[in-house]
Symmetry: C2
Subunit: 262 residues, 2 copies
Amino acid sequence: VNTFSSVEVIGGGLIGTSIALKLAKNGSQVRVVDSNAAHAKVANSLIGSSLLAENAPIECVVVATPVEALAEVIVSALISNPKCIVIDIGSIKTKVILDVWTLTESMSNKVELRERYIPTHPMAGREVSGPDGARSDLFEGRAWAITPHSQSKEPTLNRVEALVREFGAVVYRMSPEEHDRQVAMTSHLPQLLASLLASVLKSPLDLAGQGLRDMTRLAHSNPAMWAPIVQGNRSELEPLLNEIIKSINDLKDKLFEKRLYL
Amino acid sequence: VNTFSSVEVIGGGLIGTSIALKLAKNGSQVRVVDSNAAHAKVANSLIGSSLLAENAPIECVVVATPVEALAEVIVSALISNPKCIVIDIGSIKTKVILDVWTLTESMSNKVELRERYIPTHPMAGREVSGPDGARSDLFEGRAWAITPHSQSKEPTLNRVEALVREFGAVVYRMSPEEHDRQVAMTSHLPQLLASLLASVLKSPLDLAGQGLRDMTRLAHSNPAMWAPIVQGNRSELEPLLNEIIKSINDLKDKLFEKRLYL
């Protein structure tokens, strides 16, 4: 039931390697490439006998690099692999699409290139990073956004949706703007609040319990990975941060009013 | 191995009923009283054959009411039950002790009354409230603070520590001020941030995942219970809220600086 018989995953981190493992399990030939040779080696050794040969043709490229590298790698993959569908799995969508547009603007075949690019985002992750934490079932039951752009065509979108369903994920098709609005609330703001909370804690904290553990778990994620994500979605995040500040100020006013209780 | 052979629990909510259930299991005679007759009935029916008879003498009273009622109920229990040790399990400590001091200030036997009162706080809870959610193992492995005041005596403290260990809890003895400093960070601030985060979410949120669930779980707790707790600890909370506001403003500055990434 594999949608693509041969897939190249660019980026052998947690997500990229998990994708490669699941595709291999589903019967695709797959390989992982990574500028970090050690990561690529670990990832490809996990793939085992389904490893895609060096010069074999590729039907699909999955770009799973950090977000700051996405646009360049997507465009390069589109150019290097004619007719290949290229998807990315980045945590922000409008900025990446805009950057892909900018990079392809002066190219004579820009319409054909852009048509082959489908932006996506699986809502999955762990507090570990790198290929060692990869799991083929990472996307089971998770939401996976597919965010068509102005050049997206239905047959290509349908193939990518079939690919996503191979992971046991639930497809949500929505605009890139709607995606960015939602992840600002469901992912980026929680991430920032967890980090802010963790940053004000002062030891000793003998009385810490499950509540605090839940509220600071996300703060253990890699800040180098998160910084460009939240910065890339700052126009959605700014009004939410302003709302939080306003709510804290309202709360402080209530706490210090003369009324005995809130 | 029961520290007290007969215990009255005042307040048949989640915590009070869980305490009663564990004491009954450990071989104490126990009863729950509550101004809500339905709660008392449910709680006492769960106790079964270990139910303490109406006029039997009491060795210990556990006050487990909402925090706004604690001081009055504690003082009333100290007066009604001579020689009895009275503990409370309230989420804030300095304000409750201060209120007990104020209420007993004009009493000729105030030293004897205050000596018999030991303030405590088990770090346990659930997002459900009322006796139906009670579990005898609620305190297993949890921290349980004991916060001596100026009139506390070692033999009484030791008996209460033995009681706490009956629940499988880990005793932390500390000053009321240290307790309030810690719970501001480990409990009250996480609680407030979870509620603030929940309040800025706008549907639809198809892309919500485990991170958001963890970060908003505490927001499902009862606001009527939490309001007097955070207000009672406002002097510890205010500087933390100011730190959070400052951190959010610093973050906003960074997001909108010309540098590409944080």
